[in-house]
């Protein structure tokens, strides 16, 4: 079935919940975040559609994609010259989103579902009950992008540690200076202060790979 026909079928069935036809390199439909679950069930169970396979589920941060123009999306934050994580007070304002790449083994056609949710309330209906594989992919999207999936059986981090702060694939993500007492920016471990409040990183310590730093094995 052609993507336009699939889109029309979805529109006739779900009306307002199907927002727009997406005509990119891949063809698909932009749908309402709250109703993805039922749309997914329809896509899988309808005889003419038969999307029994969810190939991929990608969490996205659209920040900078639309507004900044072509190729001008916001640069990611990295490290400054001293190797410290770049500080930034920039707060992203773009939408978050999810893209579902679907394939039907029976009919051999593809379709991509897109969802956009406001950054302030990134909540999408879970499709884990429709395609079991989504359970892990949704955990990954929560872990890395910070999208909540309503109705997910066990939404927790999957790749990062449970106690990790923040969602790294957001465009305004700032790398922490340390994690559980371990400095992440290449500074001298021994110069850190440890107390009940956690670890304090001194600013004036040079990087370990600085040849002037004693005890570095670089002298002479």
């Amino acid at each position: 079935m052609e993507a336009t026909a699939i889109h029309a079928l979805l529109q006739s069935r779900f009306g307002d919940a199907v927002l727009d036809y997406v005509d990119s390199f891949e063809k698909g439909s932009l749908v309402a975040a709250g109703r993805v679950g039922e749309i997914a069930a329809f896509l899988r169970d309808d005889a003419a559609l038969g999307f029994e396979s969810l190939m991929s589920l990608a969490g996205l941060d659209w920040d900078g994609y639309d507004t900044a123009g072509k190729g001008k999306s916001v640069d990611i934050l990295g490290y400054d010259e001293l190797g410290r994580p770049e500080a930034s007070d920039r707060v992203g304002d773009g939408d978050l989103g999810v893209a579902y790449a679907l394939y039907s083994h029976r009919h051999g056609h593809k379709h991509t579902l897109f969802v956009r949710v406001p950054r302030a309330a990134p909540q999408v209906a879970s499709v884990a009950a429709v395609w079991a594989t989504a359970a892990w992919h949704e955990r990954e999207a929560w872990d890395l992008v910070g999208i909540r999936f309503a109705g997910h059986p066990d939404l927790k981090r999957i790749l990062l540690d449970e106690e990790w702060v923040g969602h790294p694939l957001r465009k305004d993500y700032v790398m922490p200076g340390s994690w559980q007492g371990v400095p992440l920016d290449g500074r001298d471990y021994a110069a850190c202060k440890w107390d009940e409040a956690g670890v304090t990183l001194p600013d004036d310590v040079k990087k370990p790979d600085d040849p002037q730093q004693p005890g570095n094995g670089n002298q002479g």
């Binding site: 390199f25 991929s56 990608a58 072509k70 893209a99 981090r157 790749l159 990062l160 694939l169």
Partner: protein, 388 residues
């Protein structure tokens, strides 16, 4: 006496009622030979019977998708190597095809042929590891050594062509980084000639070994519906009896020009979709790869190996595309979102082992602990691409 969870003999459950035993929680990994990498499985067992499996992944997470936001399109190729470090060429291939489709670039004929040859050599190398380590899991030491012998030849060829022994970074957007060396075709044909004779040797060593069949036939059966629901692809899906292969069913590169068959599980030694079927699919795929390599070497034309119209700094037009190719483990998909700039806006990597491992939580409960090891081995997971 009632049947047990596995339906094999006398009742663990009856004993449990009398003894008031409780479930035992076992940590398998992160450092464990049977988990094929840094994977931690939390297994709940009732005696020898597995009642629940929870997979904990992420130990090898290297933020590849975040790094992509800071690299230009060509630079990220080197990170794709690190996903499946047993089949980096297949990972390169998927990313190259994905970006080329969005750019609309035509890759030169010579480059396409060398790509296919390298990808199929790599598939054989990866399957050799899968087969060898699977034998190891089942207590067969020797086949691994035989497998490494042949794999070594492949690594030598790939080292000569790319300069790298394990991580090649050989493919480039729009072609290859450099041309094949002189005598490449001869080396490849020499290898294929030997390889085709060696496969029957593995069959006698391992495939039809009575003990091996006992350990793998009827064990860890994954049916088609489960495969589709859990997104299992590659030898896992084909082992379940579905002759689905992206090289045929979603063609990319020049695979539509070659004649080859898609092996699939038929339940020869037991049930369709058991460990033996998955194993045998890999064994037979090596034959098919040899067939493809022969045809590709025969048809290898001269000419450039890079699309000349591409500039150094590639800019992909705004839009998104999900592209999948067939790696040795299954369907490697790159869902790429481009904003029109010189860096990928977002690249989601859908790795085959990620989905193939997930299914263990579904099929694990009810089997013996030793069968769990067999099932994991037969899935042929690589943690590098699960954790990315």
């Amino acid at each position: 006496m009632s049947e047990t969870a596995t339906g094999r003999g006398w009742g663990a459950q009856d004993v449990r009622r009398e003894l008031h035993s409780e479930l035992l929680e076992i940590n398998m990994g992160p450092q464990h030979p049977a988990t094929h990498g840094v994977l931690r499985l939390l297994v709940h067992t009732d005696g020898e019977i597995v009642q629940g499996v929870t997979a904990h992944i992420g130990y090898l997470h290297r933020c590849a998708e975040k790094i992509a936001e800071g690299c230009d399109w060509r630079q990220w190729m080197v990170y794709t190597d690190r996903f499946d470090y047993l089949a980096p060429i297949n990972m390169n291939f998927g990313y190259a095809v994905a970006v080329e489709r969005m750019l609309g670039v035509k890759v030169p004929e010579r480059a396409e042929h060398i790509r296919v040859i390298c990808a199929e050599l790599q598939r054989i190398a990866s399957h050799l590891i899968a087969i060898g380590t699977f034998g190891l899991d089942m207590g067969a030491w020797t086949p691994l050594l035989y497998c490494f012998r042949e794999r070594e030849e492949i690594l030598n060829i790939l080292e000569r062509i790319s300069g790298g022994r394990m991580l090649y970074n050989y493919f480039d957007i729009g072609g290859l980084r450099y041309d094949a060396y002189e005598g490449f075709e001869r080396d490849v044909l020499d290898f294929v000639n030997i390889m085709e004779q060696k496969i029957p040797e593995y069959d006698t060593l391992l495939s039809y070994n009575k003990i091996f069949i006992e350990r793998t036939a009827d064990v860890g059966v994954i049916d088609v519906a489960t495969c589709h629901a859990y997104g299992c692809t590659g030898p896992v899906l084909r082992g379940a009896g579905v002759p689905f292969d992206c090289r045929k069913d979603d063609p990319y590169s020049i695979y539509d020009r070659f004649e080859f068959d898609i092996p699939y599980g038929e339940g020869e030694q037991g049930t369709v979709g058991d460990c033996w079927d998955r194993y045998m699919v890999r064994m037979r795929e090596m034959y098919e790869s040899c067939r493809i390599i022969r045809q590709a070497v025969d048809a290898l034309p001269g000419g450039p190996v890079k699309a000349e119209e591409l500039k150094k700094l590639v800019k992909v037009p705004q839009g998104s595309l999900y592209t999948r190719t067939e790696s040795s483990k299954g369907e490697i998909g790159y869902h790429i979102f481009a904003d029109g700039g010189s860096k990928p806006f977002r690249t989601k990597v859908r790795s085959p082992s990620f989905s193939n491992l997930h299914v263990i939580e579904k099929v694990g409960p009810g089997m013996m602990l030793s069968d769990l090891v067999a099932t994991i081995g037969s899935l042929d997971i690589v943690l590098g691409e699960i954790d990315r």
